[in-house]
């Protein structure tokens, strides 16, 4: 059985019934690194939220999602809480809104440890420090006693990653984890994520609009447009010989906007 399997999943608005996402099928095995690429409105983020049963009440999921043996669509909130963080954890785009502004970050990292592993006190503190070391945050004394606003964007995202790692999830779902960061920090966080996923033997679902970024991390890609998967395949196949016109357009666009004049403008030339 796959670690995660999604069968004919659809997401619609409760009430009007408009389909936001339709006919989504994919599966994820242990150690897989899967990318979901698409632009705004493609449905990539709500797809990610649906995997953990995190969609707002205004949306309804149909089809089947099986995550580490749990039927996500039909499970109660109580059962979902048990798998969130422990079976699959998420890192979101904006660490400032993912973190509680009123809680020191040390306590926030300890949150999932307490919930899932019943770790408290000195044992929890030691684990928090270990996690901070894993995400390459130096000076754990100072940082764990800081509030999110006292840290830089990169540090905050590292905290969010530490929280995601806390309960050794089997799947890490990262939704635009580098998009809100400064460009020079983006690369560092990307390398860190890549390294951690490999070292911990996690499976990764990486969601972004940024093709060159995702192409460095994942081995398989799903391309989404208007709520549908329009193309899927290995990263190298998709980037080197895209089939669907939309994929072609995305790749062309990415090559153009990342073309540095005089340096690599050749690969950015169109026509």
């Amino acid at each position: 059985m796959s670690l995660l399997s999604v069968e004919n999943m659809g997401i619609s608005l409760v009430g009007p019934g408009n389909m936001l996402v339709e006919g989504i099928n994919f599966s994820l095995e242990k150690g897989d690194r899967l990318g979901i690429i698409g632009e705004s409105g493609s449905g990539k983020s709500i797809t990610a939220l649906a995997l953990l049963g995190l969609l707002p009440g205004s949306m309804k999921v149909t089809g089947r999602i099986s995550l580490a043996g749990t039927d996500v669509v039909n499970s109660s909130e109580r059962d979902l809480v048990k798998i969130r963080g422990s079976k699959a954890a998420t890192v979101f785009q904006e660490p400032l809104s993912a973190l509680d502004p009123l809680m020191k970050v040390g306590r926030q990292i300890a949150g999932p440890l307490k919930l899932h592993q019943k770790l408290v006190g000195e044992a929890a503190r030691r684990e928090v420090y270990k996690l901070m070391e894993r995400v390459q945050l130096s000076d754990p004394d100072r940082i764990s006693a800081s509030f999110p606003h006292e840290l830089s964007g990169g540090q905050r995202q590292r905290i969010a990653i530490a929280m995601a790692l806390a309960c050794k999830p089997e799947i890490l779902i990262a939704d635009e984890p580098t998009t809100a960061l400064d460009v020079t920090v983006q690369g560092e966080v990307l390398l860190l994520l890549d390294k951690l996923v490999k070292e911990e033997g996690m499976s990764l679902i990486f969601i972004t609009h940024d093709l060159p970024v995702i192409a460095r991390v994942v081995s398989r890609l799903l391309v989404m447009q208007d709520g549908h998967i329009v193309e899927e395949g290995s990263t190298s196949n998709i980037i080197e010989s895209p089939k669907h016109p939309y994929t072609k357009k995305l790749i062309e666009a990415a090559r153009t906007v990342t073309a540095v004049p005089y340096v690599n403008e050749k690969i950015g030339k169109r026509k």
Binding site: V183, H209, D210, P212, S236, V257, A259, Y262, V263
Partner: protein, 261 residues
């Protein structure tokens, strides 16, 4: 117009913000020159001072120290006549057209607003239709509201508003960062064609060297309120001297030739 004066010339700009007794130099001695027809890119990451420079060049903020000359004349926010002329000639497009367009105003009044507030004479309805056409929109959209448009279309509306007063300088503050990649290209191409067509000199503020480099002949790289490197785009890209510039260039996320497998 005065001959050979640069459009903008700043000398030793310092902007200090103080809060709870401590003060931060958001800008720390910035000299820059904008010459007609030589578009300038201002690149840096968060906290570099990009927005502060922009506010000063737009005449919204006063520098703590240093001067801004516009066509050789010191910019004086109290000088109404100068400021009226200045605001006609220097216009801006912001990052996020969701917040830069008033959701309660129809497109026609949004785009026509500079014409009214700067008391520009002439047939403003006609002018609004003209600039909408220039940015690739159907002029009949005047009666619609911003939320009926996509991100890219909204940014076109914002650009139409910016060019309505026939400016000579168009400032873009991360004008494509909030847009989808495929839309980004269209907006960049629009900037390029307007630049040529209307003889605009651009100031483009961005964290993205690639984008700035595609539109600007000169670049300054800012870090912590100071210029770490300035020069023409080709030299900066092919032979960057500051380590920080190299780091920025390296972080442009280009495709690698190998893939994880």
């Amino acid at each position: 117009m005065t001959v050979n004066h640069p459009i903008f010339e700043t000398k030793d700009l310092v902007k200090t913000y103080s809060r709870q007794g401590s003060s931060v130099n958001a800008l720390d001695g910035v000299d820059l020159t904008l010459r007609s027809g030589v578009s300038l890119g201002i690149v840096g990451e968060s906290g570099a001072g990009k927005s502060t420079i922009l506010d000063i060049l737009l005449g919204i903020e006063k520098p703590t120290r240093g001067t801004v000359k516009y066509h050789g004349q010191e910019l004086d926010m109290a000088n109404r006549k100068q400021m009226n002329q200045f605001r006609r000639e220097v216009q801006v497009v912001f990052q996020d057209p969701k917040t830069s367009l008033n959701p309660r105003m129809r497109v026609g009044s949004i785009v026509g607003e500079p014409l009214r507030s700067l008391k520009i004479e002439g047939d403003s309805a006609q002018r609004v239709r003209e600039v909408l056409k220039a940015v690739g929109l159907n002029p009949d959209v005047v009666s619609r509201y911003p939320d009926e448009f996509s991100g890219g279309q909204r940014q076109r509306i914002a650009i139409a508003r910016a060019i309505a007063s026939s400016p000579i300088v168009l400032i873009g503050d991360e004008p494509v960062s909030a847009l989808d990649v495929s839309v980004r290209i269209q907006i960049l191409e629009l900037f390029q064609s307007l630049k040529n067509l209307l003889n605009l000199t651009l100031i483009l503020v961005s964290h993205d060297l690639a984008i700035v480099g595609q539109l600007c002949e000169e670049i300054i790289v800012l870090k912590n309120g100071q210029i770490v490197e300035a020069g023409d785009t080709r030299t900066i890209f092919t032979n960057p001297s500051a380590d920080y510039t190299k780091k920025l260039l390296d972080s442009v996320p280009t495709f690698l030739s190998t893939y994880p497998g």
